[in-house]
Symmetry: C2
Subunit: 336 residues, 2 copies
């Protein structure tokens, strides 16, 4: 990946493909949206080497996660779509720590481009900032890099890091889940942020075709839903035994992560609807579909049989999709 | 960046360039090194959606930072070199929060490949884990992604996210720095993690030439030094007025970040030695050199005149490089 001698000898960092001024423009464009997310807990000013936030107290746990949005970034054309992947990333991270019962405290991002486009960087960050502000997270920092020899022409990638808090006696680690628990599935809005390398290849010729209210591409870009608002009241009630965020690896890869040893999840795949995008995805074995895509379920909640009705009544687009069963051997998903 | 119709129609996620089993092998290879970093404060098990760490108490601040290592990744050939950029990343992140007076609590990584190589991923993560363990950070989580349409052939990128703590009355935000303070520079080991897109281009033909104890490439890969161990005793003594980590933007871009409004830094560039690698970097204007590279200084410390001697006596490879002066207008660096 080092460059050949035929390249003209650079006389500046800009000649080598790194435009420091573009970086400064990007930061200036991001600043208002980012500062709008700062609550009273944020101690540092933007531009410091480290971002400081007051610690929540010794009875709290700090729950953290790192994520990306996969090759969904390759579908982005407009500024609004760039903001969309920024929101996707924050929602993905919030959902991950939500599975532990945690609420967001702060968020940082890493954004890297083949060639830094300040407008695009600012659009992505403004999307992240909007999602952070909507869910009580401070967007305290990040890094924007220009790496022409690592990223393909016009490509970019984005990663997010979140820290949230949960009182230690409300921390969910799967240990409350037991045989007989009911599994409730919360509908996804589409692929969320997984399986895009495959879906884009399958649909490469059809991206600009009309589909639903827009195009195939717009349908693929449907936002990764954030389940914080829907689930917070149920977490407060203390009726949630476990949560699994359905991302890379699908239901078979993620549902077992919330199960104690010796238990399995039995699902009935006819119990929930497939989002329309799956009408377009064909020619794959069922097993491959379930391992690659969320197949319409973005989050799974385990609860006792006595609370199923009240939880289903409170959640929009939620389905009773299966149950937890005793099962010899590895934790796994049955019935798909 | 979407693929043309001439690609054969994929029938699986693996056909689309995403090998879930390679991801699972990578995680299995990383696990022992990662778990070795877990101290008593880590509550969660590996494989959970979120990583949980006990909060440090309400008189503490949480100081966070996100970083990458730039195109230094393009120089990596061997497993040990891959581990080296893992250490680089952790050291970079630790230095950033150290400027606020904070010590590491936990670290997460984001690792993305064109094509996931489990051995390489494990080598990078083992380097990160070793650096985390050496400096008291738990490597609590991360994300490994395979994104063939975003990254160039054989390319990878790595980003790190750190959270540390500092007692609120020991938080450094530059407000202690005043006119008359002395600036002490701590030697860097080379380029650390900045300016590689330019240096690799300038030295593209010479990477395998003998230089010093090895090759030009090995010299370029010299590790980003971590200043935690050297500076912790000085932070304990309460003699540090401010710290600036010299990364992208060099001394002119970073030193002002620790100055209060109305102050400038006057440096004498003859007061410290240049690392050998700079003998090879020629043909650039002085201003461009200082804006792109650290030019031999990895960290700058501001202190009162009464403590200069004791600090210099305690720090290896430290130089008195300048002073803080009152100056109308923007915070900036003079004398370069």
């Amino acid at each position: 990946m080092t460059l050949g001698a035929e390249s003209p000898r650079p006389r500046s960092y800009a000649d080598a493909g790194v435009d420091i001024e573009a970086g400064e423009r990007a930061v200036a464009l991001m600043r208002p949206a980012v500062e709008a997310t700062f609550g009273h807990g944020v101690v540092s000013r933007l531009g410091a080497f480290g971002a400081a936030v007051r610690a929540p107290g010794a009875h709290e746990l700090l729950v953290s996660s790192a994520d990306g949005v996969g090759t969904k970034v390759c579908l982005v054309r407009t500024g609004e779509e760039a903001a969309g992947v920024g929101r996707d990333l924050v929602h993905h991270c919030i959902n991950d720590i939500l599975t532990c019962g945690a609420r967001p405290l702060f968020f940082l991002d890493y954004l890297a481009f083949a060639r830094l486009q300040p407008d695009r960087a600012a659009a992505i960050v403004s999307g992240m900032a909007a999602a952070c502000a909507a869910h009580g997270a401070a967007l305290v920092g990040g890094e924007t890099a220009e790496m022409p020899d690592v990223y393909r022409k016009d490509a970019f990638d984005v990663a997010g890091f979140i820290v949230g808090t949960v009182r230690d006696d409300r921390f969910l680690d799967g240990s409350l889940v037991r045989a007989g628990d009911v599994l409730i599935g919360l509908a996804s809005a589409g692929l969320h942020t997984n399986g895009y390398s495959l879906a884009r290849r399958l649909l490469a010729d059809r991206l600009e075709e009309r589909f639903g209210d827009g195009t195939v591409r717009a349908t693929l870009l449907a936002e990764h839903l954030c389940y914080l608002q829907a689930l917070a009241p149920q977490l407060e009630r203390g009726v949630v035994h476990g949560l699994a965020h359905i991302t890379g690896g699908g239901l078979p890869g993620n549902l077992p992560r919330m199960l104690p040893e010796g238990l399995a999840a039995r699902l009935d795949p006819r119990s929930w609807p497939l989002p329309p995008i799956f009408e377009l995805i064909s020619g794959l074995a069922t097993d491959e579909l379930y391992r690659t895509f969320n197949m319409g379920i973005g989050m799974v909640l385990a609860c006792g049989q006595d609370t199923v009705s009240s939880i289903l009544a409170a959640l929009p687009n939620a389905y009773r999709i299966g149950e937890v069963v005793g099962q010899e051997g590895e934790r796994r998903v049955l019935g798909l």
